[in-house]
Symmetry: C2
Subunit: 222 residues, 2 copies
């Protein structure tokens, strides 16, 4: 298996180089960028839809919608008002890498963007290893999943800066315990900024929107 390990190491080091290039392009253009990661079905696309509805008039938002197959998510984001939406179909690969993202960025006018969301493939394992040049990884989960997810996928929670807990309107319909999930997540990464919200009812979204606006202000130096 040594062959395999050395190839993986090479792939990751090439990826890191490209990610550093992306990061420098983002900084030059004062774009704040987020890499959204979660299981399939936790609500990455729904959160971006709500975000577009609320902030599309205030901010210049670009979105890269990664998927193994189909452009369903990109289509949803365009319907929700996204003006700069790019599908990124991996054709089977279980994660996005910096090369794929870099190619898509070449098609966008970076001088005209405040905030970039990269919606990764729905997968809590593989995307954790690939830096995409983002400012922060945002990991999502929903209250219909088990509250031990942070312990079971520690790499993802360790490498994320923000933890969004979606579907709080469904609390009480399972044995999901909000206190326990917070404790589990913070035991892996004590620096996580945690948001609790529901994309369906809108609860908790205001705090999320405010935080995004602050992040944009910080990055643009205003």
């Amino acid at each position: 298996m040594n062959d395999r390990l050395s190839v993986e190491k090479k792939v990751l080091s090439e990826n890191d180089k490209l990610a550093a290039e992306i990061r420098s392009r983002m900084t030059q253009n004062r774009i704040v960028s987020f890499n959204l990661v979660s299981s399939p079905g936790s609500g990455k696309t729904s959160l971006l839809e709500r975000t577009l509805e609320a902030l599309n008039d205030k901010l210049k938002i670009a979105l890269i919608a990664g998927d193994v197959q189909t452009e369903n998510d990109a289509n949803r984001l365009s319907r929700a008002g996204g003006k700069m939406v790019r599908p990124l179909v991996t054709g089977g690969a279980c994660h996005l890498d910096a090369r794929m993202v870099s190619r898509v960025l070449d098609e966008l006018d970076l001088t005209d963007i405040d905030i970039l969301f990269i919606e990764n493939v729905g997968n809590l394992v593989c995307p954790s290893s690939y830096d995409l040049g983002e400012d922060m990884k945002i990991v999502l989960m929903s209250t219909t999943e088990g509250d031990d997810k942070p312990l079971k996928y520690p790499a993802m929670f360790r490498r994320s800066s923000v933890f969004v807990i979606n579907k709080i309107d469904l609390l009480g319909l399972s044995n999901f315990d909000m206190e326990r999930v917070r404790e589990n997540a913070l035991s892996i990464n004590g620096n996580l900024r945690i948001f609790e919200l529901s994309c369906r009812t809108g609860d908790g979204l205001d705090i999320w929107f405010e935080w995004l606006i602050q992040m944009v202000a910080l990055k643009s130096g205003v």
Copy 2:
């Protein structure tokens, strides 16, 4: 990237060889075996808990609980009455492979098992490529995920024989459409046997239990 592809090909072909060996051991011992795959949080462990509670007295059930980290699932299954439960922690890998499963099987008395459940890592992408020597892959999803999941993860649905739709008690709390998910799944794989159930309320579980008993009878030649 040619290096990488050829290494991947070699790994997969070694895996297929080991999977064939497992399959032949299972057949010799008349064990029916299932490889359970889904996103994290769809309810693989819950379904196995309910299955143990209902069938533990009737069938000799072995369970291999795969996880990236932690033995949480294995502990849950032991608490639910599992007599032959083995944790399989991948230590970072995003899927189980035949070598890992083969090692665990060496620890079990195969002459004393009717049915083997292998609970894969929560991931809808990578586990689809690795044959574990099972009779069938069973793909799960829950009604709190999007009903376009079969289209977005077609490899997994194509390679599965059974599709379990869990959390039907939460239908109506989102825009999940049962007809649409069935159509989407069957458009990818027209041979899927579909179960609709709720591990929380127990709805639909009887049909699942009956089917398992039939599968055991078929394999044991009774």
